[in-house]
């Protein structure tokens, strides 16, 4: 997620060349019959393959939703697994149409790579995991702790900043690979394990007794993850952006994949506009007016995809937290379909 120096430099070099190309992505996609979606090479709950080899995850569902909006068929997606270094070039060169690969939205990336972030489908941030028997309830009680983390990532810097700002002493124990960090933490070489919160939940399952560990409430960095498209094609940018908004709006309006057919008869004007009974919102995006209906019917609303991939009932067991709707104390907010 963070080793971006090389790709940034590489990307900047070609940004100008790339941004001039590839207008009318939507027409190209309609012509070739599928959305080409760049995903990760495996991140639990975000993009990973299941037992049958199908891609699943919260990032994958964004691509499926876009395909549902364009074709009315969520299965018309082809996936390109990309390493962190390759991802931006793949998008710039037109190899993929949309990059949905747990990519942090930062100013540098947004302004120098010839790319646009279409929104945030997961608000991540760096967190801490400790043993429950340590009796710690807040990161502010971690003075003097040994902290396990990966080498050479911004995680290390964030920890340093946080502990210095709060005038706490600490000791970093850093390893190259995530598996080594888990091992070290599990065998007691350190008291605290820090990485992005979504990663903490996944890594926790690798511990001998996952139930004995807890993630502390403090989040010390902002990592908004979202889908990315090429700059210079506003129609496509709008479509991806509003696909995300449609899923969030659907949850807010209580529209789910199960009840959406009944909701078509709803008297609530906001729902009528969303499901395409009223207005020409789909046509303005360049797709059918059933676009949001297809998204919710085939993929689900935002809450459904969250629960299905990373939510409390999945092995990852991540609670909604900041990813709850704005009306429930979270950050997920979408402009109205109006």
């Amino acid at each position: 997620m963070k080793k971006i120096v090389l790709s940034t430099a590489l990307g900047a070099a070609v940004a100008v060349a790339a941004s001039t190309a590839g207008a009318a992505t939507l027409d190209d996609i309609k012509a070739k019959g599928h959305v080409q979606c760049g995903v990760s090479q495996g991140l639990p709950g975000f993009s990973n393959t299941d037992d049958k080899g199908n891609w699943t995850g919260i990032d994958v569902d964004v691509c499926r939703a876009v395909a549902a909006a364009v074709f009315g068929d969520a299965s018309k997606v082809k996936y390109t697994p990309l390493s962190a270094k390759e991802r931006f070039t793949a998008l710039q060169s037109g190899e993929i149409d949309i990059l949905s690969r747990n990519t942090t939205w930062t100013m540098t990336r947004d302004t120098t790579l010839g790319l646009n972030f279409a929104g945030v489908n997961y608000y991540d941030g760096q967190g801490f995991m400790v043993r429950k028997d340590l009796g710690v309830k807040s990161a502010l009680e971690l003075g003097g702790a040994k902290v396990c983390t990966n080498t050479g990532t911004t995680t290390e810097l964030n920890v340093a900043d946080y502990f210095r700002a709060n005038k706490l002493t600490y000791e970093i124990v850093a390893f190259e690979k995530a598996d080594e960090v888990v091992q070290a933490y599990d065998t007691g070489r350190c008291d605290v394990y820090t990485t992005d919160a979504s990663g903490l939940y996944a890594q926790r399952l690798k511990l001998a007794k996952p139930g004995d560990h807890m993630v502390l409430p403090e989040i010390i960095s902002k990592e908004p993850l979202g889908p990315v498209v090429r700059q210079g094609d506003d129609q496509w940018f709008n479509l991806v952006k509003w696909t995300l908004f449609a899923m969030i709006n659907a949850e807010e309006l209580g529209v789910t994949s199960a009840n959406i057919d009944d909701m078509k008869k709803s008297t609530n004007p906001a729902i009528k506009r969303l499901v395409g009974v009223e207005g020409n919102f789909g046509q303005n995006l360049g797709v059918s007016n059933e676009w949001a209906y297809n998204i919710v019917k085939q993929v689900g609303n935002y809450g459904e995809i969250f629960d299905a991939n990373v939510g409390p009932k999945t092995p990852l067991g991540i609670s909604r937290g900041v990813n709850a709707l704005w009306s429930k104390g979270g950050l997920q907010y979408a402009p109205p379909v109006r």
Binding site: L10, A17, G22, D51, S93, L205, K206
Partner: protein, 375 residues
Amino acid sequence: MSGYVRETEAPELPAPAFVKGPVHWIRENLFPNWWNSILTLVSLYIGYLLFSSVIDFALISAVFTGDSGKSCIRESGGHVGACWPFIWAKFDQFIYGRYPLAERWRVDVVYLVGMAALIPALMPALPFKKWNVLFLLIVYPVMTFFLLVGGSFGLEPVETSLWGGLLVTLVVAVTGIVASLPIGIILALGRRSSMPTARFVSIIFIEFWRGVPLITVLFMSSVMFPLLLPEGVNFDKLLRALVGVALFSAAYMAEVVRGGLQAIPRGQYEGAQALGLSYWKMMGLIVLPQALKLVIPGIVNTFIGLFKDTTLVMIIGLFDLLGIVQLNFTDPKWISPVTSHTGYLFAAAIFWMFCFSMSRYSIYMENRLHTGHKR
């Protein structure tokens, strides 16, 4: 009183246990004196520790049945062995990658025909060697291409992005192996040629490809190459990797073959020339057969290295066997403390099987081609 004279020969008794047989061997080799005895005992103990922990992990404490990673976690936090259900559940993916379910018979056909053609080709006693090898080198690759890629003869096209697992490992390794030997031989001859252009081109080629790491070659092929192409022109990623790997291994092969060429005494060349053989006949009939035989260990070494290097295609988003095993570590359903250990054990076993058989076959070939020059 007559003396006792034995009239029949005494039966031959087996030698006493302490001068022959396993007991003697053990005494002689393992416990000849006190310090060697101590060393033996210490080594046995270390071996026991290693071996017993592997057996314990793979068999005794292992979990054999289950339908998710949960079955491989003991809530008590006790010691858990390998999580074999993970391998069963993902086995098809490890072999075929994400190749469409309905089309997997095509991969099976390729595997089976490949084996059916390769095994007799490797056994010197069997007849029709020429046809067999021609089939393997010409018909089989063409057949494999049409079967795997599809799009003709009424076969569904299957994109290479769906290929994976052992399929990709074998496609990359076999292409590299098959392409590198002929290209390598040509380059080696070119480098030793008296024609300045041929020599110069060969040297440049070899030194360029040997000078860059394979990971750079792959990375360039996947990241830089697309940017240099006009928009919309896109070479297949697997194809780019194949070309990169083949050229890379050809450069190494060239140097191995050149080593063999240099070891052939000058008299062999002169003898061939005295017989009036042309350059190609001299090389093909006299020099290369001897030179290649000399460097079999080096050639197989390069093959084995190449086979293992195929795992590097992971960095360009192709999933070879190791890549797809690692990808499946991230399935939340199967995350457990031992999932990754089990997966790595499985991948190691498969890789070892292939590399070990290559190595054994090369030793067999060396002995067979042994003509009394060996020291």
